[in-house]
């Protein structure tokens, strides 16, 4: 998609207005890609960002303004004179994003941006990405790959779920909800599989055991609240409960 490796099948078309862009040189002037493992860079954060802008033709005062804006926007103000070795993984990623966003690509592609970040950093970054995508001044289309499904779902407008190299879902989260006749939850507690199965007999459930607990599918005719009440009123202690009906996480289920 970003021209790093050639496609094995199919094709992609890039348009600028009505005009189709058909050379990789021109496509790469509009599409930016941030790989999971970024190369080491030299100099300071400010130099990298300013240089990234000026080589794309953003020069003079505009360069200064945009550099300062993006540094501020991505919370790098206190790190502008830091070098690569002085930054944590999260801030290195922010610098990469800043280096890219400063020249205003039309499309930004990020490969596993959350992979090396702690939970707090993941939340901060996702919030930043969402804000940048929705920026009135400089909105950017973003495509990112991630395995942190819950976190990404909170900001994504559209999700493509890949399984064994095939897109098994492509759409918004609302479409996911309407896709089938089941409600799906993840839960765990002081019960065994058989005990849970017995407890939820009236729901006509389908239970799958996985590493973190159980994935329970109940028919649309039932409600999540009913399920919750049944579990709370039982003698078992419930330690984890999450409704994943609207989450792509349910697509991991064998059902799909």
């Amino acid at each position: 998609m970003c021209g790093e490796i050639s496609s094995s099948d199919g094709g992609l078309n890039f348009y600028e207005g009505e005009r189709k862009i058909d050379t990789w040189e021109e496509i790469k002037e509009n599409v930016a890609f941030i790989p999971q493992r970024t190369d080491r860079w030299w100099g300071t954060v400010e130099e990298q960002i300013s240089f990234g802008a000026s080589i794309k033709g953003i020069i003079g005062e505009e360069n200064d303004e945009k550099t300062n804006f993006i540094i501020h926007r991505l919370g790098l103000t206190n790190f502008r004179y830091h070098s690569w070795s002085q930054l944590s993984s999260g801030y290195k990623l922010r610098v990469e994003i800043a280096k890219t966003l400063v020249w205003e690509p039309r499309v930004l592609i990020l490969d596993e941006p959350l992979a090396n970040l702690d939970l707090l950093a993941q939340e901060l970054l996702l919030q930043d990405l969402k804000d940048l995508a929705n920026s009135w001044k400089q909105p950017v289309s973003m495509i990112l790959t991630s395995q942190q499904l819950h976190e990404v779902e909170t900001i994504a407008d559209q999700i493509i779920f890949l399984k064994n190299g095939k897109a098994i879902f492509n759409g918004g989260l609302d479409e996911l909800k309407n896709q089938d006749e089941f409600l799906t939850v993840e839960l765990n507690g002081s019960f065994l599989y058989d005990e849970l199965d017995l407890l939820l007999t009236s729901f006509d459930v389908r239970i799958e055991k996985n590493a973190s607990g159980y994935t329970v599918n109940i028919p649309n005719s039932k409600s999540i609240k009913e399920l919750q009440l049944t579990l709370i009123n039982s003698d078992f202690e419930l330690s984890y409960f999450r409704n994943i009906t609207n989450s792509t996480k349910k697509l991991f289920s064998d059902k799909y």
């Binding site: 021209g3 790093e4 490796i5 050639s6 496609s7 094995s8 050379t23 990789w24 040189e25 790469k28 002037e29 030299w42 100099g43 300071t44 130099e47 300013s50 240089f51 990234g52 000026s54 080589i55 794309k56 033709g57 020069i59 003079g60 360069n63 200064d64 070098s83």
Partner: protein, 515 residues
């Protein structure tokens, strides 16, 4: 280079920001830093040169100054390495920046200058030391002293081995007519000892001795040791020498005394070692008893040796010091500095070529190309050696390799995936293009012997089997053809090859790699 910014004046920091924000392709050459560093390093080298003691009695020779040059080569090479590293850090091309076709015409020389700047250290220190050496005394005084010392040389036997002894005028003339036999030569060696020790036929008196300075080291070396300006004065000395040669006149004692006194003045001024015994020398001159020692004391080897040492230490040292000072006054840099600069220039050109490629290709591709070139040249070298091709195989295969690389570049515009093969070919073309015309000419000259075709027969003046059978005009023409080919290759590469190949690399760089 942020450490430089910390010690840089405000103006440089502003220039740095201005270039980065407006001309990133110039900023990436680090030219502003390297020029600033050049000022600092040059000042440091000049300071070292200024505090190095240079005295009129101990002026620095070319070799002495080149020793300083050599010492400063260590920091120069280290700093060069640092600049090369800096030039690898920011690549407009690798970050897919905007570019123009002819921008390499500016970037390439700027990169060369950046790489070359550390050489300011050895050149500055050698310039300062050279100037200090030249300024220890006035130019006019040096010329006057040199002139007089040259004249005085005729009255001093300074122990050089190129004095020839003849006991008769006939022998002397025979020698110059080329009729000196082996026997005569050994005879002369025998009588030399007799003359020395006043024995045999020389027990009572000394023969008239004819000295020849034609083989004198000083005389012969004059052609390559002195500047053009100096050579004119040497030519004048030559005629004086020839005059003494031909006439073999008795030298005027009055003149001798005047010049010998003058030698002692110079010894005092330039060497401060022991002075010459003017009376002894005059005695010998008067009795026409030259030998390789001016002592008139019979059998007194110790004294003779000591006197000889006086000449060696004092007269020679004064002459030598004068030569060093004169040379320093005549030139800006020591003798070998020019060759060193040319060497640096070439090394920098090659380094810049490699750097330029490095900024346009992935480092793995860059290393792979060096490996491929190495393996290919080794292979054809082995085939050349084993196959006994008389030197014909290696050059043609090298030339064909480059031609094949050039032709394959056509394919780059039709690619829709990155091709490592074409990328390699582009690197090989880039590296060899500046030298390609010379490679072709070398092949035509060495293998096909193009300069011996019938067309050039009109320049033949001797049998072709002789050494240099052609006229000077022919060799000049050949030299001109080589020079024109060489420079046209460089100019073509710079004006056309460099921008074109950059475009090729940008195209290759933008293509997706194979899945």
């Amino acid at each position: 280079m942020n450490w430089i910014l910390k010690i840089a004046p405000k103006e440089l920091r502003l220039i740095d920001i201005y270039l980065r924000e407006n001309y990133p392709w110039i900023w990436a050459t680090r030219i502003h830093f390297t020029l600033y560093a050049m000022i600092l390093l040059g000042a440091f080298a000049a300071f070292i040169g200024l505090i190095t003691p240079v005295d009129i009695q101990d002026p620095l020779s070319s070799n002495d100054i080149m020793t300083f040059f050599g010492i400063f080569m260590f920091p120069t090479i280290i700093f060069m390495g640092y600049i090369i590293f800096q030039l690898c850090l920011f690549s407009v091309e690798k970050r897919k920046g905007k570019s123009s076709f002819f921008r390499p015409l500016i970037v390439f020389p700027l990169m060369m200058i950046s790489v070359l700047t550390p050489t300011v250290m050895p050149f500055t220190v050698s310039y300062v030391l050279n100037t200090k050496t030249g300024n220890v005394i006035d130019n006019e005084q040096v010329d006057f002293d040199r002139h007089n010392l040259k004249k005085a040389e005729y009255f001093i036997n300074d122990g050089e081995s190129d004095y020839i002894y003849f006991d008769t005028e006939k022998e002397y003339k025979n020698y110059w007519n080329g009729s000196t036999s082996q026997h005569d030569q050994s005879y002369r060696r025998d009588i030399r000892g007799d003359i020395y020790d006043h024995v045999g036929r020389f027990s009572e008196s000394r023969p008239r001795l004819y000295r020849s300075r034609v083989y004198s080291r000083d005389y012969n070396n004059s052609y390559y040791r002195y500047s053009t300006e100096e050579l004119s004065s040497i030519e004048m000395e030559k005629s004086v020498l020839q005059f003494y040669h031909d006439q073999n006149l008795n030298l005027s004692l009055t003149e001798a005394e005047r010049y010998l006194d003058y030698v002692n003045d110079c010894i005092e001024r330039y060497s401060q070692n022991g002075k010459l015994e003017v009376d002894s020398i005059l005695y010998e001159l008067k009795h026409n008893i030259y030998s390789d020692c001016y002592s008139n004391r019979k059998y007194n080897y110790t004294n003779r040796y000591n006197d000889y040492q006086v000449v060696r230490r004092s007269f020679h040292k004064a002459s030598r010091n004068l030569s060093h000072i004169k040379r320093a006054q005549s030139t800006l840099f020591p003798r070998d500095a020019g060759f060193m600069f040319l060497g640096f220039l070439w090394a920098t050109f090659i380094i810049t070529l490699l750097l330029f490629i490095f900024r346009l290709v992935h480092w793995k591709q860059f290393l792979l190309s060096i490996l491929i070139i190495g393996i290919y040249l080794t292979l054809i070298g082995i085939i050349e050696g084993v196959g006994n091709f008389h030197g014909d195989f290696f050059p043609i295969m090298a030339v064909l390799f480059v031609i094949a690389s050039m032709i394959s570049l056509n394919g780059v515009w039709g690619l829709n995936k990155f091709s490592a093969v074409i990328n390699q070919m582009a690197i090989i073309t880039f590296l060899s293009l500046p030298f390609f015309p010379v490679m072709i000419l070398a092949y035509l000259d060495e293998v096909l012997k193009i300069f011996t075709i019938d067309y050039f027969d009109k320049y033949l003046i001797e049998d072709v089997s002789r050494y240099r059978p052609y006229s000077e005009e022919y060799y000049e023409l050949k030299k001109t053809i080589w020079l024109v080919t060489f420079w046209s290759g460089l100019v073509f590469f710079y004006l056309i090859g460099l921008p074109y190949l950059k475009k090729v690399f940008l195209r290759l760089m933008s293509l997706p790699k194979k899945n």
